[in-house]
């Protein structure tokens, strides 16, 4: 493109300013690629066929317990392979800053429902056979330097023991890791507690569980099974809501608020600021070049050509910043995908973000570049040369 040298010349005129502007746009698009991917994960429709596990929880709220008696009834639904249950334990390990999720689970089937967790057969057996047993994710064990055989004291903040004590002591019987790239909810940053001990010892809530995790034989049947389960408990005192694990994890994360809305609001603020920055830069760059633009017009460059040159300059900065920013956010996801998936299942870099980024960069370039481009187009040569 023969005109590229003119655009390149305009960009090189104040190289530091150009680089800083592109850097600002890059940062905005790193945020865009990352936050938009998260927002998409939170706002997309539930895909029932994307998971072979369903979560059955109370229709009222995920903090409402369900009767343990539901276990057998859920198991009896055609197409259900295994049923596990879990409870949110909360609690503090030594200091409130040492947060990690702890779940009392039915040890007998838990690791069959979650085959992505890698644990030895011996440790599995120990977990089932040790009433006070706990298995911890590798990341947690490494963080606190735990070894199998350690006693792990947890101060209960939700659950109190029958004797009024809030100190729960568990025996670490195993350490599990997760298959690389499995992105299973919670990952290896959580610990599981044998439900038997918890059930016997807790002061209240006996005979209930937090929610059920249902492993299905064929994920094509997910939607039917979910409907059947909910129908089974409809009009009971504990109605259920069955969804995928991904939907459940999103619901769990959304305790802090509407994540999708929060992400999109942050992005809107970032891009509004970027529009001001880029618009100001472009206006300043064009203002400084008024005599040069007048010379272009003098030697025969038409108004529309001048408009295009300035617009392409704005587009180059926006698209270059966008491309670098999206590439960085893609790399960020490559490194952090497993960690993010531990909190919200189904989060990954969304290819649709590239299209959105492209459209955003285009709109940004037009809004930021059009006013100075129109100003340059309407420049009166005689006046501009006189100013010089």
């Amino acid at each position: 493109m023969k005109y590229w040298m003119l655009i390149s010349a305009a960009l090189k005129r104040k190289q530091t300013r150009t680089v800083l502007t592109i850097c600002s746009i890059t940062v905005a698009f790193v945020l865009f690629g990352t936050l938009r991917s998260i927002a998409v994960a939170f706002t997309e429709d539930v895909d029932f066929s994307g998971d072979d596990r369903l979560v059955v929880m109370s229709k009222l709220s995920f903090i409402e317990p369900l009767p343990m008696a539901y276990h057998q009834r859920i198991q009896s639904v055609e197409g259900v392979d295994l049923v596990a249950h879990r409870e949110w334990f909360g609690g503090t390990y030594i200091d409130v800053n040492n947060f990690f999720p702890k779940w009392p689970v039915n040890a007998e089937v838990w690791f069959d429902v979650y085959p992505e967790f890698i644990i030895s057969e011996q440790e599995k057996r120990d977990f089932v056979n040790t009433r006070t047993g706990m298995v911890a994710g590798k990341a947690i064990a490494e963080k606190y330097n735990w070894k199998v055989g350690d006693k792990i004291p947890i101060m209960g903040d939700i659950w109190v023991k029958e004797d009024g004590s809030i100190l729960w002591e568990f025996d670490l019987v195993g350490i599990f890791s997760q298959e690389e790239g499995s992105g299973v909810y919670g990952g290896d940053q959580q610990a599981f507690i044998n439900h038997s001990y918890f059930e016997e010892s807790r002061m209240w809530g006996k005979g209930t569980v937090g929610n059920y995790v249902v492993k299905v034989k064929n994920k094509e049947d997910n939607e039917r099974i979910a409907k059947e389960i909910d129908k089974m408990f409809a009009n009971s005192s504990d109605e259920t809501k069955t969804s995928t694990e991904a939907a459940f994890s999103k619901m769990f994360a959304e305790q802090v608020g509407d994540i999708g809305l929060i992400m999109n609001s942050i992005l809107a603020a970032v891009f509004f600021t970027m529009l001001l920055v880029t618009g100001n830069t472009m206006s300043q760059a064009v203002r400084e070049r008024t005599p040069e633009l007048a010379v272009f017009k003098t030697i025969g460059y038409s108004d529309s050509k001048i408009l295009c040159l300035v617009l392409v300059e704005a587009m180059f900065m926006c698209f270059l910043g966008m491309a670098i920013g999206i590439a960085i956010s893609f790399i960020v996801f490559l490194f952090l995908e497993d960690d993010l998936a531990a909190f919200i299942e189904g989060i990954s870099f969304q290819p649709s973000v590239i299209l959105w980024a492209f459209a955003t960069a285009l709109v940004m370039a037009l809004i930021a570049g059009l006013p100075p481009a129109l100003g340059a187009m309407r420049l009166k040569v005689v006046d501009a040369l006189r100013k010089d």
Partner: protein, 225 residues
């Protein structure tokens, strides 16, 4: 249709400043034959640059007609005027107006980007123009690496490169010392004499005007010999 290359007929140029009308050119007539080298002199504000702008197709008269090489400039729209300027006229300014980040070669190439010439053809034209102004060896230098005289010669090469009929020079030596001015004026004479370029030059400097074939004085919007 006139035999002159430039024909300015009964031209008025009036600016409205607030409630006041400022008559810059007053019923002005001018004929410039092909191959002429005309110096326009006059005090500041006498309308010299305005007249050059009208002949160069940068401005339009309030009334009257401006005809250059059989084209009625006062009737052309902005787009047509741009096209006309690109092929018929070369401009030389007092302050050179080169793009600081481009080399001399690239600065001279600018008008040719508007043509359909290939890259190699453009290169050939640029080298020819730089050769005329004796700056081939400085082609890869940026303006800040050149002296004032050399920068003006690059500007002249830029004005020449598309082989226009007319060169319009607005105080081409106004920013140069005496010796360099003489070099530039000699170059303009060569372009007029050997390359057949019609030159219209505005100057305050009587010495510079002496290089022209004809000198006209403009005062209060009217021409005199």
């Amino acid at each position: 249709m006139s035999d002159s290359l430039v024909s300015v007929n009964a031209v008025n140029k009036i600016y409205q400043r607030g409630g006041e009308k400022l008559v810059v050119l007053d019923d002005l007539n001018l004929e410039v034959p092909k191959g002429d080298f005309l110096a326009l002199m006059g005090p500041s504000g006498s309308g010299k640059t305005t007249l050059l702008n009208l002949i160069g197709g940068l401005d339009t008269p309030t009334s009257g007609s401006v005809e250059v090489d059989n084209a009625r400039l006062d009737t052309l729209n902005s787009r047509a005027l741009s096209r006309w300027r690109a092929s018929h006229v070369g401009f030389i300014f007092q302050f050179y107006n080169l793009l600081p980040v481009l080399t001399a070669f690239r600065n001279v190439e600018l008008p040719l980007l508007l043509t359909k010439l290939s890259s190699s053809q453009r290169k050939e034209h640029v080298e020819t123009a730089l050769n005329i102004v004796s700056l081939v060896d400085r082609a890869s230098h940026k303006p800040n690496e050149l002296s004032g005289g050399q920068q003006q010669r690059v500007a002249i090469a830029r004005a020449l490169v598309s082989d226009p009929d007319i060169l319009i020079c607005d105080e081409p030596t106004g920013d140069l010392d005496r010796e360099t001015s003489t070099e530039i004026l000699n170059l303009l004479q060569v372009l007029n004499r050997d390359h057949g370029k019609t030159i219209l030059m505005v100057t305050h400097d009587p010495m510079a005007a002496e290089f022209a074939k004809r000198i006209l004085h403009l005062d209060k919007g009217k021409l005199s010999n």
